[in-house]
């Protein structure tokens, strides 16, 4: 068990200096600051724009391996969250943009861990009775990209990144391709709750305590390699595509789901196609950032044994 208190943060997923070195099987307890760089005491400790905790260097991890991250807990560690108040222009028809607020106010939210709810601190008119279920998640999670790139934590890709997918919280196991030695895992941008798409460009932004268990899968044969981020819960498996436009994100997700069904579940391309055609579901992750996120979801009850 590592207890890691971050003191520096990165704003890109890249080949940065390691903050903690771990081995497969290790558990890490750590924390993330909010998207604006504020910590549990609401103090500004990092540069705004999804500052990341990490990178965690995973010993022996090499390109071609799979990094497995069991998310054991994501818990807001303060009672105030914030969001913006304006839909992104890209969320509406181009001739409806004039109806939107051009500048956005900051909205404060009160997070009640005990009751498991989130409410506006001073509700705008019409939202007085709005009570959201607390559903903590990590907006950012991923590894360093290939070719020693350093990619802003405002976007996402094959390496993960700012995917803003609501199910990436406690109980989810994520899988990433290892693209550089040591994998270099980063996390950040926790939300107390969030609508699909993150269409105001913010969830309910908050700092959080996070507990992860990390595993490494080595010597993965090419057909079984993770090419796009994957997820698994007790009930379902997930593949995540990050790209623009939205259908390309879906194409990546569907391709990766097909690959998974073929390599792990032994399905022919025909059996996989029939299954996806009649039983797959799709969730929307982020549709605000440069790269959008679509998730292919397959319930385990429809799957043969792996």
């Amino acid at each position: 068990m590592h207890r890691f208190v971050p003191s520096s943060f990165c704003n890109t997923f890249g080949p940065h200096e390691t903050v903690l070195s771990i081995v497969s099987g290790d558990v890490v307890q750590t924390s993330t600051v909010d998207a604006a760089g504020r910590d549990s005491r609401d103090e500004l400790v990092a540069e705004r724009g999804n500052p990341l905790t990490g990178p965690f260097f995973v010993r022996d991890a090499e390109p071609g391996d799979t990094l497995i991250v069991h998310i054991r807990a994501v818990r807001p560690n303060r009672i105030r969250g914030f969001s913006s108040a304006a839909l992104a222009p890209v969320a509406v028809d181009s001739d409806y943009v004039w109806e939107l607020e051009r500048t956005s106010r900051r909205i404060d939210w009160h997070i009640d861990i005990d009751s498991g709810t989130v409410r506006q601190a001073r509700p705008v008119k019409g939202n007085e009775h709005l009570v959201l279920p607390l559903a903590p998640m990590l907006g950012c999670i991923g590894v360093a990209p290939e070719r020693r790139q350093a990619i802003t934590s405002a976007t996402s890709g094959r390496h993960g990144g700012n995917m803003d997918y609501r199910r990436i919280g406690a109980g989810m196991t994520m899988m990433f391709p290892v693209l550089t030695n040591g994998a270099l895992l980063y996390i950040g941008d926790a939300h107390a709750a969030q609508g699909a798409g993150e269409l105001t460009g913010t969830g309910i932004e908050v700092s959080a305590n996070v507990e992860l268990q990390i595993e490494l899968e080595r010597s993965v044969p090419p057909e079984a390699r993770v090419l796009w981020p994957r997820g698994e819960t007790a009930d379902a498996i997930f593949t995540i595509g990050n790209a623009r436009p939205l259908e390309q994100a879906l194409q990546h997700a569907t391709t990766e789901m097909t690959r998974w069904l073929r390599s792990t579940y032994g399905l022919s391309i025909e059996a996989a196609s029939i299954l996806i055609g009649q039983a797959c579901d799709y969730d929307l992750g982020n549709m605000f950032d440069p790269a959008y996120t679509m998730v292919s979801v397959m319930e385990k009850r429809f799957l043969p044994r792996p």
Copy 2:
């Protein structure tokens, strides 16, 4: 109560000759043939390509009105359904297309109404244990388009059409803009079950008995008019965008949701934006046809009283 047995079918949503004239409040019991034109006895009675039952002429309906369709029942009326066995090229990465089957087999499915399940009649290897819950839906529902257009039932638009959205079944109330005198309602393309996206280009295609109650809302003020199809169930409200690319479909859906929240629920643009940003969900309808379908879903528990 009208019991209408169709004897002719249309392959476009357009200004075709009325098959039944009704008034607001009427209930219609009728049936649809499957996407290939076969009826409950598996006899070919219509031209393939989503032949439609209708049009039903709604007396007094004029452009600017809202047509409300309560779907009371959609019940397969035979035990055999069919699907194709190949993912559409547009569903996967462009360099993964070579992995797909270029020509698709027809897969037969057995529909068991009593147990509420659907299984392959002769399962392909790997799908032997696949049991889908029976979830009947209408792939096509809509009205005649504006400007006396006649638009193929292979696609969708502001008028509805081939949206292939899984929740358009019993218990859903649909709302359409009236775009021509009499509205001219059509239905067709029932599925016993279907994955999100209809990514093999077929659900489990079947003929069905359908019961609808139709209402007309007149003298709708401009800001409250339905511009894109809407839906409502006991628990949620829905707005449906039909367009390509996928984000434009989402933009239409979000714009329509925003308009609905403003006009019916009295929210300011700011309150509506905050609500959508933190509480909205999105479903995928069809992503196979020329126009794709995205659905904005808002649970009623998050809404103020209308």
Copy 3:
């Protein structure tokens, strides 16, 4: 030689009543009204929204044939044209829409046939010295679509339609797939000049005299069939894709160019690919309508003999 004076107009490409019946080889002299329905005397004679002259029924034309239209002349038949003054929201970044005028003024243009120029009648400040070369073109040209559809003249497809491509003027030979008996050719929406994309939603809209020679190519083998509109001038061949998003329009155009190079010029897929990769150019047609237009252009000097 037919001299046809239109007295009725259609606002859809569809299976409408024939206004003139012709045979392969015939020449037709006729006229088109402007996009707002005004004729050479500036009188309102048709419903606004690209009213079309036609349909011309081509005897013996059947689905699978190719309709060839030699455009011999497009001449504005009045000295006043008009355009709008505002860029379409879809032409700019979504967060730049607020900078645009929400409602557009009408701008009048003076067309000087003798000098071959077009100028604003009362230039807005900054455009005082703007003189455009007169370059008359047909915004709309096409045939009736498949399956007895009637599709608004505000958009485009495989059948042609509102493509707003600047090179569709005198000297261009267009080729369309025959999709219904008699082909049913329509023309309309002439522009005295236009920028690529038609990004204000208008060219310099004008009524015009048009002279066409029509030919029919029958018994076309499947691989040589025209699937998307094609064009030919003295110097180049053109294939036109109409779809949204823009890359799909380009994909249709490139696919059709590849098909043409294979069937008519005898190139292998490899030779066609190399040629397109190193020598093809692309023009933008309409990027304002529901379907966008991209054109693949291959200069004849790079082609082997057909």
Copy 4:
């Protein structure tokens, strides 16, 4: 005058160690290796994937400034170029992908500087008589991105990058936003010729000698800042958008053109809109990479004095 012989290369646009420091007004003569890392003697001296010459550090350059690069010469420095022989799947309809070659051969080209032509060394059947005009260009040119990102030279963005625009050759002046101290200019990926779109993923790839004159514009007021790459030749001005999908690239280009017309040429938004609507043209840059490139082109004859 600097004569700089590169001995190390970068595969990302990023904050790498400076290879040469220059001041505004300086001329640099240097060379680039080909996309596969081979130099004028066809020796492998750099890692494949558009290795870049640079970065050149421009003294005093700070974020907000404009970097001006006069391209005085781009000359292939060997007689052999190469391309691939297969269209990218993304260039054609998704159901036409099966027609393409799945693996691509390498095609060798002979570059004849004296006659100004390019031919295949061993022409494939059907391309025997294909002679392309020599038209040397730089596929890659740009600066280090914002936020200390390092972005692969396989793609493009606001910082420039792998735009593969045919007019970026001798006689073109490019303008880039300075996004980091010193600007950090990079060049690479020269082509002897190339079709629009670079649809086989390659131009005719070659090493080249390059001569640039660099200027720095400081204290630029916000409205006059370069937000997306710009170009200027004797006859026209250009704005370049890099994004996916293609219409977003066009939106960036049109927005930047509008900004330029307003700030430098003093046009109102209305005058700029009218001008773009009736006189603008669009060129296609790269449509193979993750980000596509569209270019807005305005001829100077249509512009008022700056």
